[in-house]
């Protein structure tokens, strides 16, 4: 079994699976259950100043369901912890004492005044917690009070507060970023400039889950009104992966440790975040959907996968996919692929045909010699992958690269063995003519 032990900015945990700062980490009771279930660490639900905030007493969550009510997206309008600060601090202290091998990071959110941060940092330090995470992410409620994503959307504020934290505390500091911005590299750069030891992302995405058409209110509805909340769960994973990758490959932030968050539901999701540079992952929705037991599959699945790839420790693959994250302009335009339909696997639903016929390139038949049959017309196929995406049968349609030297039936041109991209393409008015080798 591969070694899953993780050392993230000096914070050690038996595995890279942490529970994110969220309802599952609001109390000693929950956190102890999580540790018993095998979670490597937790980020304690965000602490604020007394008097404690209040939450709505109607619905706090809304969901998007897939088939058979499988939960694919969740949003929430819950705020930071609504329990007194001292109660949380006592419990944190106790839990860290009882579970010294687990990571225990404390999430914080107080107003943007230096003294407020000094005050709370001192009290957190006394608990023996492993580090702090600065919640610059929550998009609802707290942001209206100048905290959460209201800070995370202004790089200057991020840098300022991070600097205060590093200046007034010996604890490792993770800055949690909001995705509700246009370019996630800017806040990450600001965090680094302020001295952050790591960033974590993504926090939740601003969202309205739906509209109740009977009462004409956003859902979930609190007495006939709805407010935007934070969206998370499996549906946000692609957005999170991109943001993680952007930070991992940005020259300014490259190498800055990242704790990956956003729709991690199983070991494979976790491995993908880690391949894009995340040194640990944080999970919330999967646990809130299925309970803490989901960590068992994450641990075993990641370990089995690492064994199959010959990785003995997580460091061996963290960031391995980062060099392959590129920009469109550098993709190889001489790479030519054609869809291929495995007739033995084809169940003849015809979805590939109608998708291609109605919306793309008219490159898939529906009849051959008078019989229902779906075949790719290589003369028309641009290799777009839409048919693969809509086919209900796994591996029935594959994208087959054309061998160099063969003739592309669509363009009638020879497939070039050499790499060539847009930057040197003759159609590009900005092409760097001399750069082509």
């Amino acid at each position: 079994m591969a070694d899953l032990r993780t050392n993230f900015i000096g914070i050690k945990s038996p595995n890279p699976f942490w529970l994110a700062s969220a309802p599952p980490t609001d109390k000693e009771y929950n956190v102890v259950r999580a540790f018993k279930a095998g979670w490597g660490g937790v980020v304690w639900k965000t602490l604020g100043e007394d008097p404690a905030i209040v939450n709505v007493n109607g619905p706090r969550y809304g969901a998007i369901h897939g088939k058979d009510r499988q939960l694919i997206g969740l949003n929430n309008i819950e705020l930071i912890t609504d329990r007194p600060l001292e109660v949380n601090l006592q419990e944190i202290k106790q839990v860290k004492r009882d579970w010294p091998d687990r990571a225990l990071v404390v999430s914080l959110m107080v107003p943007c005044e230096e003294q407020n941060w000094i005050n709370i940092l001192k009290r957190v330090e006394d608990t023996g917690a492993d580090g702090v995470e600065l919640n610059f992410g929550c998009p609802h409620g707290m942001s209206e009070r100048g905290m959460g994503s209201a800070v995370g959307q202004v790089p200057e504020y991020i840098e300022m507060v991070t600097r205060w934290v590093k200046q007034h505390s010996r604890m490792p500091c993770i800055v949690k970023l909001t995705p509700n911005i246009t370019d996630v590299r800017k806040p990450a750069q600001a965090a680094k400039a302020g001295g952050a030891d790591a960033v974590s992302l993504i926090n939740t995405i601003n969202s309205i889950m739906g509209v109740d058409l009977d009462i004409m209110s956003p859902s979930p509805s609190v007495d006939g009104k709805g407010a935007h909340g934070g969206y998370c769960g499996p549906a946000v994973k692609p957005i999170a992966l991109n943001m993680v990758a952007e930070i991992a490959r940005d020259p300014v932030t490259h190498g800055l440790p990242i704790s990956g968050i956003g729709g991690v539901t199983n070991w494979r999701d976790a491995a993908e975040f880690m391949a894009l540079g995340a040194g640990s992952v944080q999970v919330c929705t999967a646990a809130m959907t299925y309970g803490f037991k989901v960590v068992e599959d994450m641990i075993e699945g990641l370990s089995d996968w690492m064994d199959s790839k010959g990785h003995t420790s997580v460091d061996q693959f963290i960031g391995s996919a980062v060099p392959n994250v590129s920009d469109w302009q550098y993709l190889n335009l001489n790479y030519i692929a054609k869809a291929k339909i495995d007739q033995d696997l084809c169940i003849q639903c015809g979805r590939c045909h109608i998708a291609c016929e109605d919306t793309s390139h008219q490159a898939i038949t529906n009849m051959v010699d008078g019989a229902r049959r779906f075949e790719v017309i290589d003369e028309e196929c641009v290799g777009c992958n839409l048919c693969v995406s809509v086919c209900p049968v796994e591996d029935c349609i594959t994208m087959e690269p054309m061998a160099a030297g063969s003739i592309d039936p669509r363009t009638k041109k020879v497939v070039d063995k050499d790499y060539a991209n847009w930057t040197t393409h003759p159609n590009n008015p900005m092409a760097v003519k001399d750069a082509a080798e």
Binding site: K67, D68, C349, R351, H353, N366
Partner: protein, 463 residues
């Protein structure tokens, strides 16, 4: 109960009183809304869907299933009713395993088709529970009068479509209520809660259809007269006769028509009053044989045996129906044919069967080996026949059925025919519905052309 050696044991009330409602409850209970949702989500929304091609009434199946999955069951029902106004009954009785569900791509892929029949029932039941009338409006009145003879599935379908087009329909039926085989000929567990009559009411709600029961062709109804007094006639009289075994003692007590007894079960106010033998033999291999055999078992018979003269693969009853019989405890004995009915005191007591073999040309012959089955009741389910003498002698009949063209026209230019009485059908409710629909469209076209020609000639005269 005393059992005398002299007489057969055909006592009624063999079951505990609660057992009747349980045994004769719905074969496939209605899908719960969530079940329907999950099942609907299994549909791939195929392009040019094979299920739709396989449906004799061409229902847009992917569309109606999608409407269920998007939370629009009423819209789903309308999609179904547009092609098949008896979609509710077809959802219950269609042999879907040999039609839409057989070609469902998920049947091909994994042996588990989308439950199209049950989804159709979900949608149509939902609609009928919430609405008193069909979702269609009638076109402006045309003043044309059409006689539809026989208010079974073909007749109801034809009458409804004609009414939608604005024609006035008189719908005749020989029985005291409409519905035909839906009402009198289908196993009870396929149509519970008086569904057949509720569906008749639903069809008639379109308006413009006058139902006249107790009117039998060849009795108090005459085809020539109907032709003289109507612009068109649609014959959907079904098959009124029953094939005979042509054996001695066939008229003795206990030798019964399966069709009649199935009708008795459907019409019974109290199932506990129906006579039930301990030992039952059913002769035949079609749906009627299955329907009577299973229901006799459900009524408490000790043993029920279907005897069929060829191999099981040749039975007309679908594989699913055969399995239903067998899992209900009915024995299917194949390659045997009736040899002799044995009677005792004027009542059947057993039946002698001869084993059969099929030669290389497919001809059936007895092997000379015999076996005897005890029988308190013998049911004949060896096919029904058209009562030809009720019809006009000038109508063309072949193979015992009325000859019709692709648009269900007979050789008489103002007479159409469909359902079981017409040649070329499959003796299914759903094909009868399609016959009625096609005939109605053809009648409508013919009468519209006629009206157009009349207007034109009048214009010519006055012009």
């Amino acid at each position: 109960m005393t059992q005398s050696k002299a007489g057969p044991d055909i006592a009624p009330g063999r079951l505990h009183e609660d057992a009747y409602s349980e045994n004769f409850s719905d074969l496939h209970p209605l899908l719960e809304p969530h079940e329907a949702q999950v099942e609907a989500d299994r549909c791939y929304f195929c392009y040019d869907a094979p299920c739709m091609q396989a449906c004799p009434t061409s229902i847009d199946i992917p569309q109606f299933i999608r409407q269920i999955s998007t939370g629009n069951p009423d819209g789903s029902a309308k999609t179904i009713f547009e092609q098949n106004i008896l979609g509710g009954m077809c959802a219950r009785v269609c042999p879907t395993e040999t039609l839409c569900e057989q070609v469902c791509v998920r049947e091909v892929a994994e042996g588990k088709p989308v439950k199209i029949g049950q989804l159709q029932r979900h949608a149509t039941d939902h609609y009928m529970a919430g609405h008193d009338a069909t979702p269609f409006d009638r076109a402006a009145a045309t003043g044309k009068k059409i006689a539809v003879v026989g208010a079974g599935p073909a007749g109801l379908s034809c009458a409804h479509r004609l009414a939608v087009h604005g024609h006035d329909v008189t719908l005749f039926d020989a029985r005291d209520k409409a519905g035909g085989l839906n009402e009198f000929g289908i196993a009870s567990y396929k149509s519970v809660d008086n569904f057949a009559q509720r569906e008749v009411d639903f069809v008639l709600s379109i308006g413009g259809i006058e139902l006249k029961t107790g009117m039998r062709l060849g009795d108090n109804l005459d085809l020539a007269e109907l032709r003289a007094t109507h612009d068109a006639v649609f014959l959907s009289v079904g098959l009124g006769g029953v094939n005979a075994l042509n054996k001695e003692h066939e008229s003795q007590n206990g030798v019964l028509s399966a069709v009649d007894y199935i009708s008795d079960i459907r019409q019974a106010e109290d199932l506990a009053r129906l006579p039930v033998g301990r030992h039952i033999v059913v002769i035949g291999g079609g749906m009627t044989a299955i329907d009577i055999a299973v229901q006799k078992k459900l009524l408490g018979a000790d043993d029920v045996t279907i005897v069929y003269r060829r191999g099981q693969e040749r039975m007309n009853a679908s594989r699913y129906e055969q399995e239903l019989a067998q899992t209900s405890g009915v024995k299917i004995l194949t390659n045997v044919q009736p040899h002799r009915l044995v009677v005792d005191n004027g009542h059947i007591s057993s039946i002698e069967l001869e084993r059969t073999s099929t030669d290389k040309d497919g001809a059936l012959k007895g092997t000379g080996e015999y076996l005897t089955l005890a029988a308190d009741m013998v049911f004949k389910a060896v096919g029904q026949t058209l009562v030809q003498e009720d019809l006009d002698a000038s109508i063309t009949i072949e193979k015992g059925r009325i000859v019709v063209s692709a648009d269900r026209r007979t050789n008489l230019d103002d007479v159409w025919a469909g359902g079981d009485c017409a040649l070329g059908g499959e003796d299914l409710t759903v094909t009868a519905v399609e016959d009625g629909k096609i005939a109605a469209e053809s009648i409508h076209t013919a009468l519209s052309e006629q009206a157009h020609a009349t207007t034109e000639s009048r214009e010519r005269v006055h012009g």
